[in-house]
Subunit: 449 residues, 2 copies
């Protein structure tokens, strides 16, 4: 009896999960590798960052999602490279041989060559990003409450969001809503309603992928809720307490990055051809040219779409690619012949702005305002994983809507800082480097062959 | 017009909150200082540590709780000392003068002189403790899934809980339930049902504050769910991967500390007389001898109770003391005379063991098993803060009970470690010390006068 076909999927995001699920009835053994144990529903991360939802509302353990699929095993490991000739995926927990390989490793933040901006301006790709942003925003208000200098208080309650795509728009609108509604009764010295949110975009309009009319509506909707929109304003420098737009200096209490992403290291691992954003250039069946057994999907792949455009880095695209590749590999494992090329079906674009305002562009229908916001909510709840989370999130949203509350307004410290150590350090609050390094050091990984 | 009486409360736990609330109609201005922004419902922290609840289910922003009380302002700051003669509380954000001072700073873990055990055996006092313990337990299973060595796999799925009081019992029972029920379907190589939980207690029985019969029942109930109980077994050494009981070595995948607490630094700040656990010795009205305007309450105070005993460090005691002190200070501010001494009313003791098992001892009634478990659940939901959280927690419990699930099974990294940095470090996964120190460094605090 021959060994079953081995399929390795790297990445447990939208693309990787769909690929695994599509193989449920194929004569294969699937190994899904991810460096984290959970699948993160990225479209709702901004709600963790603005204290509406908790991490467990938008993330689920991957092995929990796939536990009933008996031909899948889930491995939590860091991929360090790929030996494409030997057909091996190398990780810090050993090597994994494959007959077919799917790279679904997504994207991460890119700072246009200015990686030094990263500590000052976190992006929003992982749970930890969201809780860090939440911490910075809430801490800025706490410090503003104690500030005696009016200019300092104003700086601390000024938030700069860099990037006018859907993520930037959602963050700017949500911070503004949070400041004006949920936080306002809580403070005595600070007027959260007087806090300022600046949304900075280098291009000429917000939501560049949307029709002009919706971009204009979005700008007005944001300005009505007190967000200042700066267009044609590329960022030239970012520090912890300010952002430079050329000559103009914007003091800030926190800076959030929503302006650039770059593909994961998949192209590096393969030594494959890549585009300017680092994405692996793939063929019509999403395989890597010259390596028909290796596929790249989702944000980490550059897939030709319309003339001059590639498939956008959105969740539905990743899911379609994952399903396609899963079926293709299943067919091959069953010995069935070829397959039609991948064709992306663009269902539409959605972006939420804030309370009761969103924009939706479907193929035949455009919505804005309240109807769009309801539609956006229903779609996102529908695509959550698991009935329980749908109930929990719908309940949170309903409660917040009625009470203007946000219940997850917690400042949780990074685990490397213990209050006792902070006290021993005196009033500076800076932990000693050995203590922080020791606290952050993970266990040595076991060896697997 | 004279300045209103200034009351400073240090600590936003059960005691501090009750004191603030009791002053709601007093002619005072209250400043409540806490180093964190949230109040943590400690009795349910073990459920965050075992992936049943999320942090936001058991913690609420203090200023949110007190937002409607107009004579209270909340300050997030680290107290560095007290000048009792000048009547000033010193913090890293400035000095706060007081006419009356309430110290409600609680307790922290104590390792019987072995502080070096702390990194290997986290305790359970703060949200960050709970998520760290959760991370260690879930990571141990992830690594066990990849282990090829049977002894290593067995070590990784062995969990040692040190301390046989209510916290230790709850943790041991919950880890056992989690491993046998929620995690079992998720793994292929590991048999979570074969994982072992050891509860280690130096004394002769579990739950030393409970009647013997309930201690015996608890031990049996734990053993029936697969927990190994070791009594008369003081720990002599703790490392990341094992615990020593004298000559006997227990390999472990994670160690949890539930054995010793010591009072906060309040006695240090005051230079006051303290007992062996570091608690401030207080008089019949909970004031510090010689300082009638300074009070200490809750876990940080040693309050005489029955002959040879002090009031236990439990939440109801802290709340009663807080309410008492709040009323006393309010009376003084109104110019009303003296007050009866504080009298603690012990309602009873509760401890939960696991699914459908708990022990309850009230003054006239003892319960065990299913009835006790229901009672425990109702009491804890009742004492949560806010209707919304009661609904959310009750819903989580009901869902978990029916499905044997645990939905918060997330491994979230400490914020000082970014996966990109882990990759750059190669397979060791250890971040460079400067990176970890930089990530953990909070902003410089503003000065307030």
């Amino acid at each position: 009896m021959s060994r079953p076909t081995q399929v390795v999927i790297v990445g447990g995001g939208f693309g990787g999960l769909e690929a695994a699920k599509a193989l449920h009835d194929a004569p294969v053994e699937v190994t899904l590798i991810d460096r984290q144990n959970h699948h993160c529903f990225q479209p709702l991360l901004y709600q963790v960052a603005t204290a509406t939802l908790s991490p467990a509302d938008v993330a689920w353990p991957i092995r929990g999602i796939l536990s009933r699929q008996k031909n899948v095993r889930v491995v939590m490991a860091n991929v360090t490279g790929i030996d494409a000739d030997a057909r091996l995926v190398r990780t810090n927990s050993g090597d994994f041989p494959y007959d077919h390989l799917v790279l679904a490793t997504g994207a991460t933040h890119a700072y246009f060559g200015h990686d030094e901006w990263a500590p000052s301006a976190p992006g929003l790709k992982r749970i930890e990003d969201a809780t860090e942003i939440r911490r910075r925003i809430l801490t800025a208000f706490e410090r503003a409450e104690l500030a005696t200098d009016a200019a300092e208080r104003e700086r601390l309650t000024t938030f700069v969001v860099v990037g006018g795509g859907p993520t930037g728009v959602e963050m700017a609108g949500a911070i503004s809503d949070m400041a004006h509604e949920a936080l306002a009764p809580d403070f005595r010295n600070v007027e959260p309603a007087a806090s300022r949110v600046l949304l900075v975009e280098a291009g000429p309009r917000l939501l560049a992928a949307f029709p002009e009319a919706l971009s204009a509506y979005t700008r007005q909707a944001l300005e009505r809720r007190g967000v200042q929109v700066l267009l044609g304003a590329p960022v030239t420098r970012i520090a912890e307490d300010h952002v430079m737009l050329g000559e103009r200096r914007l003091p800030a209490g926190a800076v959030i990055w929503a302006a650039g992403v770059a593909a994961s290291a998949a192209a590096d691992w393969l030594g494959a051809e890549r585009d300017r954003a680092g994405r692996v250039i793939v063929g019509p069946d999403l395989s890597v040219p010259g390596r028909p057994e290796v596929f790249a999907i989702g944000d980490t792949a550059a897939v030709p779409w319309e003339p001059g455009r590639t498939v956008p880095g959105v969740a539905p695209a990743a899911k379609q690619m994952g399903a396609y590749v899963g079926r293709l590999i299943g067919d091959r494992a069953r010995g069935e012949a070829g397959s039609a090329p991948f064709r992306y079906r663009h269902a539409g674009d959605l972006a939420t702005i804030g309370r009761k305002a969103a924009v939706v562009r479907l193929r035949r229908l455009t919505l804005k305002g309240y109807a769009a916001w309801l539609f956006w909510g229903v779609v996102h709840v529908y695509f959550l994983i698991g009935l329980r989370n749908r109930i929990a999130v719908a309940f949170s949203w309903a409660w917040d809507y009625l009470t203007f509350g946000r219940r997850a307004r917690l400042i949780t410290e990074p685990a490397g800082v213990r209050p006792a150590e902070a006290e021993r350090e005196g009033s500076s609050g800076v932990p000693s480097a050995p203590a922080a390094a020791k606290a952050a050091q993970p266990d040595a990984a076991p060896v697997w062959r």
